[in-house]
């Protein structure tokens, strides 16, 4: 492991420890169909109540620790997205939400990048169309290191186990 890697891992651990119990979220819509937004909004409803986990939404990027990006990264939003990210103080986390943001729906052309990580670096990917509020909660908890990533261990090949 190089010195840079060690330092970056250490910084990441410290940032995650800092965010573990209190994290402010700024959402950014880079051209989504608004269904991801509707699921994100549900997070503050009584059923999911993300405040109990120490997550809060903030309208100001300067007060935010985490940027939640949905949509296919339309090129018209590039400047806004970069400026929003630049306005968030370091250390910061970027979470890409939904199939569009992960590069699943739109191919890159002159209007869209088709994936968020073509514009800004992404730390955590949350798949789904739309990801349910529980999937979003899992994504947020993974982002702050409170839950383990699970998808690597999941097997979508059942062989004959469920035959009945």
């Amino acid at each position: 492991m190089t010195e840079e890697q060690r330092l970056s891992d250490e910084l990441r651990e410290r940032a995650v420890a800092l965010f573990a119990r209190s994290l402010h979220i700024r959402t950014f819509d880079s051209g989504s169909c608004a269904v991801c937004e509707s699921e994100i909004r549900l997070l503050s409803a009584p059923h999911y109540d993300l405040h109990r986990l120490g997550f809060f939404f903030t309208p100001a990027p300067r007060h935010a620790d985490l940027l939640l990006v949905s949509g296919a990264a339309v090129r018209a939003a590039d400047t806004a997205l970069r400026k929003t990210l630049a306005a968030i103080p370091e250390p910061r986390i970027v979470v890409a939400v939904g199939a569009c943001a992960l590069g699943g729906v739109f191919a890159p052309d002159e209007l869209v990048h088709g994936r968020v990580d073509a514009v800004v670096p992404v730390d955590v990917y949350v798949p789904g169309c739309p990801p349910s509020p529980l999937a979003l909660l899992h994504g947020l908890l993974v982002a702050v290191g409170r839950l383990e990533e699970k998808v690597r261990t999941l097997d979508f090949d059942l062989r004959e186990e469920l035959v009945g």
Binding site: A99, Y125, G128, L134, V142, R159
Partner: protein
């Protein structure tokens, strides 16, 4: 006052996630899981063809599922007879995009 009484009667509605997962969460639209022994090359081709968001594709003797592209639409469940079932999985967040690409062998033994 009436709202207060209504609230008392309803009890706690907040999910206990992440300490416990609600049973209904497994019934939400989710990516497919495959009984790979029942997959034939023809069926796999039909599945790749049926996938509206283009999350399934054939690569040699493997069916490649991109969970990042899957919208949980269920078209493959219709096309796949009993070889495809809903996985019921929603905890798919990851820091590596590559981890979302799953390879399913076609008609494998094992």
């Amino acid at each position: 006052m009436l709202w207060f009484l209504r609230g008392i009667r309803r009890g706690v509605v907040t999910t206990r996630y992440p300490r416990a997962t609600d049973a209904w969460a497994r019934q939400l639209p989710s990516p497919p899981a495959f009984r790979s022994r029942r997959l034939t090359p023809e069926l796999a081709a039909r599945l790749a063809e049926s996938c509206t968001p283009g999350a399934l594709r054939l690569e040699g003797s493997e069916l490649v599922l991109d969970l990042g592209a899957c919208t949980g639409c269920g078209d493959c469940l219709t096309a796949g007879d009993d070889a495809v079932v809903p996985s019921g999985e929603f905890e798919l967040a990851t820091s590596a995009r590559d981890a979302l690409i799953k390879r399913i062998p076609i008609g494998a033994e094992g």
